[in-house]
């Protein structure tokens, strides 16, 4: 199974980008499951569900969503394996920009848009700098000059990533993103893989700087995904 981790600034179009891209994967006969990690509520799962693919939702509630995300990676992986899919798309909320969800061995995508301001790529920090692919959206409403300058600013923060222009409304760019997912390496197991960037101090072991995935590395306040909600929705 390939694990694709999608992060990005709020309202940058993460879900739209992935829905267009998943549609291409499905067209190629590749099975996909999607999991959305959010804080208090989300309706993005409804949008994924319209693709007729298995969808899970994890709400972190009182826990920092990034810590919640990493503490649940094994469980999410197991869930996706039960769905017997070839690609798991894991979309995170990405709110405070302090953390980055990228894990070595997974394909990480960062979605940001042209409207967030020319100095913002610097502020987005590790979520942007650790991504394998940076997807830039909303280019259709700003000038060519701003697109070129913005892209340059992104490349300064992350010189290694492939930078891809994407139109979340029309899906332009989705084909290339699909090809990158197909090209990416399969993951044998998430257990033992390492975060590319440590998470900040708070209340669980990851807050204290733990970067290894797995139950034995977890201490303190750890919350797990309630897959019950998923089953309920699938039955509908």
């Amino acid at each position: 199974m390939r694990l694709v981790i999608v992060a990005g600034t709020p309202s940058s179009g993460k879900t739209s980008v992935m829905i267009h891209t998943i549609a291409h994967l499905l067209k190629n006969g590749i099975s996909v499951a999607a999991c959305k990690i959010d804080c208090l509520q989300t309706s993005d799962d409804e949008r994924y569900r319209r693709l007729n693919i298995p969808v899970a939702v994890g709400l972190s509630d009182y826990i920092c969503p990034d810590h919640f995300y990493v503490a649940n990676l094994e469980e999410i992986e197991r869930w996706a394996e039960e769905q017997a899919v070839e690609v798991l798309v894991l979309e995170t909320a990405g709110l405070c920009h302090r953390c980055a969800p990228a894990v070595y061995g997974c394909l990480s995508i960062c979605v940001i848009d042209n409207l967030i301001g020319i100095e913002t790529p610097k502020k987005v920090g590790p979520m942007l700098s650790t991504a394998d692919i940076v997807v830039i959206t909303k280019g259709d409403i700003v000038s060519q000059a701003e697109r070129e300058v913005f892209r340059h600013k992104v490349e300064i923060v992350n010189p290694h990533a492939m930078v891809l222009d994407f139109n979340g409304l029309t899906g332009k760019g989705s084909l290339r993103l699909k090809n990158e997912i197909v090209k990416s390496k399969e993951l044998d197991s998430i257990t033992g893989k390492e975060l590319k960037y440590p998470m900040p101090a708070a209340i669980c072991s990851y807050c204290a700087g733990e970067t290894i995935v797995g139950k034995t590395y977890q201490m303190g306040n750890v919350k797990k995904v309630d897959f019950g909600r998923v089953d309920q929705c699938l039955e509908k």
């Binding site: 700003v142 701003e146 300058v149 340059h152 029309t170």
Partner: protein, 298 residues
């Protein structure tokens, strides 16, 4: 420098082969893309922008100087293939024109940025009736000023060999001059337009239908003559607008009133135009030139 782009036809919405199976556009040339909404104009442009290799919805293949997309070095090649100016685009950066152009010139690693910025401003002010100054804030420009600056910037600073112009007819800029400036830089211009004057400015036009390239027409000598008539009419229209905007009155006859614009000549030109095949049938029915003028002014 890029020499030409070729589009190898794929399938229309019903899966039938496109009627136009190959289309070439050379550097310095304009291709107009025309057709009703939903006919596939956007998808055609999108195929070119994505350097399609048979895998998009349409199955088209794009060749650049006869070469299909090179899987190995695709990103570097593709990065700045297409620059785009459309009616929906705005400047969103809160910065002065000068500061921003300097930033853009630095991104492009241009040697003498001050000179380049001067050139951009000169072109921009030629295209828009209302001049801008280097210290003006980008977000406070009018629609016409913004579009003029975008075209000037694309022609001068951006190094994309292909420029897509998407429905700028209402942008309030001298769009004929804009096309000349862009093609004069050796760029390939793709023009999505419903404007007859702009469509006829192109060397060729592709007519889209049901998602496919249905017809490919070269602009004929006769059409070029019609174009001259249209351009003349537009000049009259522009001077009429200038007269009204500068507080002058207009009338049917000169009547020795120096400051009055002779609306009669505008009406006469309309009448000439009606004799041209494919002219404005609605105008042809109108016997009263004054009435035509009123309608046109609306």
């Amino acid at each position: 420098m890029l020499g030409k782009i070729s589009i190898i036809g794929g399938l229309d919405k019903d899966g039938n082969p496109e009627k136009v199976q190959r289309l070439d556009i050379a550097a310095g040339e304009v291709l107009a893309v025309v057709g009703p909404t939903g006919s596939g104009k956007t998808q055609l442009i999108s195929d070119i922008e994505q350097y399609a290799d048979g895998e998009t919805l349409t199955g088209r293949t794009i060749l650049i100087d006869e070469q299909p997309m090179d899987q190995g070095s695709e990103d570097k090649e593709l990065r700045h293939l297409v620059a785009e100016v459309s009616q929906n685009m705005n400047f969103v950066i809160d910065m002065s024109i000068e500061e921003f152009l300097l930033m853009h010139a630095q991104v492009r690693a241009i040697n003498n940025p001050q000179k380049t910025i001067q050139k951009v401003l000169t072109i921009s002010n030629e295209l828009s009736g209302e001049p801008v100054f280097p210290t003006d804030n980008l977000t406070r420009l009018s629609g016409g000023q913004s579009r003029a600056l975008m075209v000037a910037d694309v022609a001068t600073i951006s190094n994309a060999p292909v420029v897509l112009i998407d429905e700028i007819e209402n942008a309030g800029i001298d769009r004929l001059k804009a096309l000349k400036i862009l093609t004069g830089q050796g760029k390939i211009v793709l023009l999505v337009s419903h404007d007859p004057t702009l469509i006829l400015m192109a060397r060729q036009r592709v007519i889209m239908k049901n998602g496919g390239m249905d017809k490919l027409y070269q602009t004929t000598v006769e059409e070029k003559k019609i174009l001259e008539g249209l351009i003349g009419q537009e000049k009259h229209f522009a001077s009429l607008r200038d007269h009204l905007r500068s507080g002058k009155r207009i009338g049917m006859k000169n009547e020795n009133k120096e400051e009055w614009y002779r609306g009669q000549s505008f009406g006469t030109l309309s009448a000439e135009y009606q004799q041209i095949p494919g002219g404005n049938a609605q105008g042809a029915r109108s016997e009263d030139a004054g009435e035509t003028r009123d309608r046109d002014s609306n």
